[in-house]
């Protein structure tokens, strides 16, 4: 039967627009304006989920963001969401929903038997039991039993939007307090934002019997909404204030209401909002009562049952029992009675006020005073409740018959209200326990935020209105504006306006399981167990039992849980305290957080200026740090590995062309340039002659090698540094830090010219032949331009810088031209070099060639412990006597320690090819294998036709002089190797000059 539990009239739904959907494979209908939860309730669906740990059957418990049970697997079109909170999902045509953590389906979940073993698996059971040999062996199986929904890998969330905005006043929550605040702030000339997670303004005015300024509460709310809109207040419905960060930075998650037309999944948009002042009118959450089997489907928060009935015309049950420990439960009972339900009420207190009792009499609601639910009948759906006197303590079995009983299909619980203090707590505000309301309420703010209304623990309507109004007045006056509005006057239908409450943190029924945290399956017994085992801090309780750690963050369970801990340890809830609330208030999807940062936008890579020309040359591009660069240039049918070997050989024996544009180009300019660079580098630079280059190391203050590179002195007052491609930004920052932080008196400017110049490197036996083909004013003779010399001039009519430098061990020329000429110069050099057998070569081929020469890559052949002496660069350590960055650290005991790892070469002694990168060099010590270092760079050398490797090895240089043989260990196998010089090819360096 369709919509069997839908009331004939009423509600905010549009009855002309029917929406069909599937739940657990069965077809249902709802109306536009329904949430998925209200549509299920209108169809009499009870069982919506299986619990996380014990696979207990569960039904919807709330109507809002605090829902602990109604997590559904929802598919709409090509979108899938594995753990959607049914209370927050707008129903849409064609929606397909299923319960989670059930196999094969909710009713016949095969893991439901776990519940029978529950007394053997209390809190901490898994960790205590599955320790040997180790937890990881058991974990996968246990994880399968417990859990939430599963991701559908084929579902691709469309890109979400991320926006930044600022406003003067943000009001979170559009209940009576929030509306009163917004009304007072409207028209003040300030930018005011009002957000609410519901689709309609009014909060609890939408279901309670209230009157404000002569109108029904809901009508007033609608009218105020209209006024606000025309006064320019920005109203955002279906928007959750998810996080409150430092300095009034709020994260808002807005749901677009595209589902309204039934044509798509509601989109999401994340707002990063900077507010000057914030008013928190976030309302409160109704707590459950704790007694045996209080988690059965058919047991629901009393206010939620009233919300479903009034706002969605969906009656969660026909024969109701309302159990309450406070006056507010009576109002829910009356609301439900008035829509036609058969209602009985049991008050756990022995002396409710006489006015209330006579009001119930008038409404035709029978009241069992001083009674509590003792026993729940019905497993997958409630069919009856046995009541017993609150004062007597009874055993679960045997005496559970009770003195009163009732057939019922819905049990509504009202355990009092907990102010939604989450955002205030996130903002750093403090809370205090108030026994009057048996809950924590705000006591102080750290940021410019004020809590009002129910969020402040003030539940009476007039208090909500007045506090909202006053808070807005205060915010306005702090921002230099004034309100013109009169404070609203509200009244509640007597006598339900009272929030008098008496705590009953758990029933005194012995031996049965009473549920505290529904979503994480934590019982009162688990809390007691934690207390017995010494977890008496609320933070320990939380971590030991997982109380409040589910995706609902314990919105309905925290207060009950910590109060029970208090009872166990003879402390008041205030002494126990709360855990810290952390963002987000409700789960945020990763897609919403990522925004547009996905696929290639996740991390943008820098492109070489000559990219187009590289692609013409057949480049295989790869990302190296932030740069996208050619790895090699495979010919047709050639593998990348083969291309690398070919290029590395050809670039030596003939000539090769490499794009080195990503190499840093940082100019240090000014009268004190020499002094500054001399203090920054390990090597001396003040005595470098203009027009010459020097290879230098830069250290950090702890003496560790930070970077290496060639420094050119272009003129007396201009140095050009070329840090490694991936360290260039870091070096730039380091220079600025030292200049601004330590030596601001030095007159230098630091300029990053990296991306202004394209740098092409021609290297190899025939490189000078290619240079001489260029039309230029540069003299290429070795007399004018020897190795490690620098020149400026023109090449093919454009300005050019020439550095005679080499990272391959061959004669080499680096030509830098303005970046826009990079591609043209590449094509030109390829064509000029053709007669000499020129080949383009990539980073991988370069890497082989530099390793053949023992030239290091910082961060690959060095690590966070490598000092210059470990690389064999001892000169400046001995001879440079001015203070430079890192110098003092080179004289610390650690720097002088015997047995430091030093750079060496390893010669493979077997026929098994190159060593593995990262393989450890080992030695036996007392029968155990210990690492003495590791392989940093290992290749097959095409020119030597054998494997080569560089390594960092303890006492490497001594082992090298001794020609020692060592063992290299990798994945269980050991290989012999000989310690040799790191320079494998042309050790005298003749090829650089000849």
């Amino acid at each position: 039967m369709s919509q069997s539990h839908r009331l004939k009239k009423g509600g905010e739904i549009n009855r002309r627009r029917r929406l069909s959907f599937l739940f657990e494979g069965r077809p249902y209908e709802g109306y536009q304006g329904d949430t998925l939860a209200s549509a299920l309730i209108a169809n009499g669906v009870r069982l919506v989920g299986r619990s996380f740990k014990y696979h207990r059957p569960r039904g919807l418990y709330t109507a809002g963001a605090e829902e602990p049970n109604g997590l559904l697997d929802v598919t709409l079109g090509d979108r899938h969401e594995p753990n959607a909170r049914a209370t927050l999902v707008d129903l849409a045509e064609g929606m397909i929903a299923r319960g989670v953590n059930a196999d094969p389906d909710l009713e016949s979940d095969r893991n439901a038997r776990l519940d029978s073993f529950a007394r053997f698996i209390p809190a901490g059971f898994y960790y205590k039991t599955f320790m040997r040999p180790k937890w990881a062996d058991y974990e996968p199986k246990i994880r399968q039993l417990a859990g939430l929904g599963r991701l559908d890998p084929s579902s691709v969330a469309p890109p979400q939007d991320l926006r930044h905005a600022r406003c003067d006043l943000l009001i979170v929550g559009a209940g009576p307090a929030g509306l009163a605040a917004a009304r007072a702030a409207a028209g003040s000339g300030l930018s005011v934002w009002l957000v609410d997670l519901e689709r309609r303004l009014g909060g609890q005015l939408l279901w309670r019997q209230t009157e404000i300024d002569g109108q029904a509460g809901a009508t007033w709310a609608e009218a105020v909404g209209g006024e606000l809109e025309s006064a320019g207040v920005r109203i955002m419905i279906r928007t959750i204030a998810a996080a409150y960060y430092d300095q009034n930075r709020i994260l808002l998650l807005e749901h677009h209401d595209r589902a309204e037309d039934g044509d798509g999944w509601p989109g999401e948009r994340l707002w990063v909002l900077q507010a000057k002042r914030v008013i928190l009118a976030t309302g409160a959450h109704e707590r459950p009562l704790v007694f045996p089997d209080n988690d059965r489907p058919g047991i629901m928060s009393a206010s939620a049952a009233a919300v479903y009935a009034k706002r969605y015309a969906a009656l969660a049950g026909r024969k109701l029992l309302v159990a309450t420990n406070n006056d507010d439960g009576y109002e829910s009972a009356v609301v439900l009675k008035r829509v036609g339900a058969d209602v009985m009420l049991c008050d756990l207190r022995t002396t409710p006020s006489q006015t209330l009792l006579s009001a119930m009499d008038e409404a035709g609601i029978a009241v069992a005073v001083g009674h509590q639910p003792l026993k729940i009948h019905g497993k997958l759906a409630l069919n009856g409740v046995s009541l017993g006197r609150t004062s007597t303590s009874v055993a679960a079995k045997g005496g559970a018959g009770g003195s009163l009983g009732r057939e019922a299909d819905l049990l509504c619980l009202s355990g009092g209200w907990s102010p939604a203090v989450h955002l205030l707590s996130q903002s750093g505000g403090k809370l205090r326990y108030d026994p009057e309301i048996t809950a924590f309420r705000p006591s102080s703010s750290v940021q410019e935020a004020e809590s009002v209304g129910a969020a402040n623990g003030s539940f009476a309507l007039q208090d909500c209105l007045s506090e909202g109004h006053r808070a807005a007045q205060a915010a306005l006056s702090a921002l230099g504006a004034k309100t013109t509005a009169e404070p609203p006057r509200g009244s509640e239908e007597a006598p339900y306006g009272s929030s008098a409450i008496q705590p009953f943190w758990r029933s005194r029924v012995q031996g049965a399981r009473q549920w505290v945290d529904f979503q994480n399956d934590v019982t009162a017994k688990d809390v007691a167990l934690a207390a017995r085992e010494g977890y008496v801090s609320v933070e320990h309780l939380k971590r030991y039992t997982t109380l409040g750690m589910a995706t609902d963050q314990g919105k309905t369970s925290n207060i009950n849980g910590l109060a029970i801990l208090g009872e166990e340890t003879k402390r008041s809830p205030g002494e126990v305290g709360t855990t810290t609330f952390r963002p987000p208030y409700t789960p945020l999807s990763l897609a919403a957080i990522a925004g547009l940062k996905r696929d290639r936008l996740v991390s943008l890579s820098r492109q070489l200026p000559a990219l187009a020309a590289h692609l013409e040359s057949g480049a295989a591009l790869r990302d190296y740090g932030i740069w996208s660069r050619p790895a090699c240039y495979p010919r047709e049918g050639e593998s990348e590995a083969a291309a690398i070997q070919r290029e590395a050989l050809q670039a030596r024996q003939q000539v090769g062309l490499l794009d080195g544009s990503s190499l840093g180009k940082i100019a240090v300019v000014g009268p004190d340039a020499a002094t500054f660079v001399n203090r920054l580098y390990y090597n001396r630079l003040d005595n470098l002659k203009p027009g010459r280059l020097r290879y230098c190391l830069m250290l950090n203050e702890t003496g560790i090698v930070l970077d290496d590179g060639v420094v050119a002195r272009q003129s007396e007052e201009r140095y050009l540094l070329s840090p490694s491609s991936s360290h260039s930004d870091h070096v730039l920052h380091t220079l600025e830090e030292w200049h601004q932080g330590e030596w601001p008196d030095l007159k230098v400017h630091i300029l990053d010219e990296t991306q202004a110049w394209a740098t092409l490197s021609v290297s190899g036996l025939r490189s000078r032949d290619v240079m001489e083909m260029l039309s230029t004013d540069i003299d290429w003779s070795d007399a004018a331009l020897p190795h490690m010399a620098f020149a400026s001039g023109q090449v093919e009519g454009v300005p050019a810088r020439i550095a005679r430098v080499s990272f391959t061990g061959e004669r080499g020329y680096e030509i830098s031209v303005p970046a826009r000429y990079g591609a043209a110069l590449w094509r030109h050099l390829i064509s000029l070099g053709r007669p000499f057998g020129i080949t383009p070569y990539g980073i991988e081929s370069l890497s082989v060639m530099r390793a053949e020469k023992g030239y290091i890559l910082i961060g690959r052949d060095t690590d966070g412990t490598t000092m210059p002496q470990d690389l064999g660069m001892l000169g400046p350590l001995k001879n440079k006597d001015i203070d430079y960055v890192g110098r003092r650290s080179l004289w610390l005991p650690e720097a002088k320690r015997h047995g430091r790892r030093q750079l060496v070469g390893l010669q493979v002694l077997d026929e098994a090819g190159p060593l593995e990168n990262g393989a450890h060099t080992i030695e036996e010590k007392g029968g155990r294998m210990v690492s003495t270092g590791y392989v940093t760079s290992s290749y097959m050398s095409p020119i030597l036709r054998r494997p080569i490797a560089l390594a960092l090895l303890a006492q490497g240089r001594a082992l090298q002089s001794a020609g020692a043989q060592i063992e290299v260990f990798h994945l269980g196998s050991r290989r012999p190797a000989k310690v040799v010089s790191p320079c494998f090819f042309d050790p005298k360096g003749g090829r650089l000059h000849d």
């Binding site: 932080g741 650290s889 610390l892």
Partner: protein
């Protein structure tokens, strides 16, 4: 999210700033190992008013003083304006 004032760019988001260290005077190179080690590896991590050096995106070094309990920024200015 905290916001600091860069002397060149104005009030900017925390994520545009890179933490460097507490400001600390660099000892002369003649100091003993212990004192040098103190300079290299130890920070005060004050609870309460606390000074920190940050580098803004634009390259400017900023000396921020803030309360580490409330994350309230007490002052932020260019490192070279004041010396550190």
């Amino acid at each position: 999210m905290q916001r600091f004032t860069c002397p060149s760019c104005g009030l900017r988001d925390e994520q545009e700033f890179h933490y460097i260290s507490e400001p600390k005077p660099r000892p002369a190179s003649k100091v003993g190992d212990a004192e040098w080690g103190q300079y290299l590896y130890f920070e005060n991590n004050e609870k309460g008013a606390h000074k920190e050096l940050y580098r803004h995106l634009c390259g400017t070094l900023v000396l921020v003083e803030r309360d580490t309990r409330s994350h309230r920024v007490l002052s932020s200015r260019g490192a070279t304006e004041t010396g550190i």
